[in-house]
Symmetry: C2
Subunit: 96 residues, 2 copies
């Protein structure tokens, strides 16, 4: 990604990394999300989904290695789930 | 995502969906990428990575159900791989 004009795909990837880094650096290790940081990320970045999930249960299921922190790989799995949900809604709205 | 000011995470997700839709609608089914569409996506969206992969082999490995098309789920798996690679580079550059 060293060239001058980032493409839409490259920009989106950088934004996702920035979101993770922004919350991960708030406390504890700077490359993982503590439960508190992950909760803040969910609240600030997905305000419209607040009523749709149980924050604690969601964080527990994301923390696949059970170390009480969400690393970037675990965050990526969450992004995929969000992406597929968003795409399904997007596509369903398109063909309605 | 119905509220007025999309967050950074929401914007990134929409951009990823837009990238997929942009190339998927060029020929054949509008909700999958043909090999030709996928190749164009790779060339246009990841110009800096051209020398790093064999396009045909990459597409073959992404097409996990072997139907000669890349659906959104298969594209999402690719996005995760890109995301983890990009994050590793980003983080390694940060701590250098």
């Amino acid at each position: 990604m060293a060239h001058q004009n980032p493409t839409q795909l490259e920009t989106a990837l950088c934004m996702l990394i920035n979101v993770f880094e922004k919350y991960a650096k708030q406390e504890g290790k700077k490359d993982t999300l503590t439960k508190k940081e992950a909760k803040t990320l969910l609240e600030k970045e997905l305000p419209g989904m607040k009523s749709l999930y149980d924050g604690d249960k969601l964080l527990e299921s994301l923390d696949s290695d059970g170390d009480n922190e969400i690393d970037f790989k675990e965050f990526s799995v969450f992004v995929i789930c969000l992406l597929c949900c968003a795409h399904n809604n997007f596509f369903l709205n398109e063909i309605k």
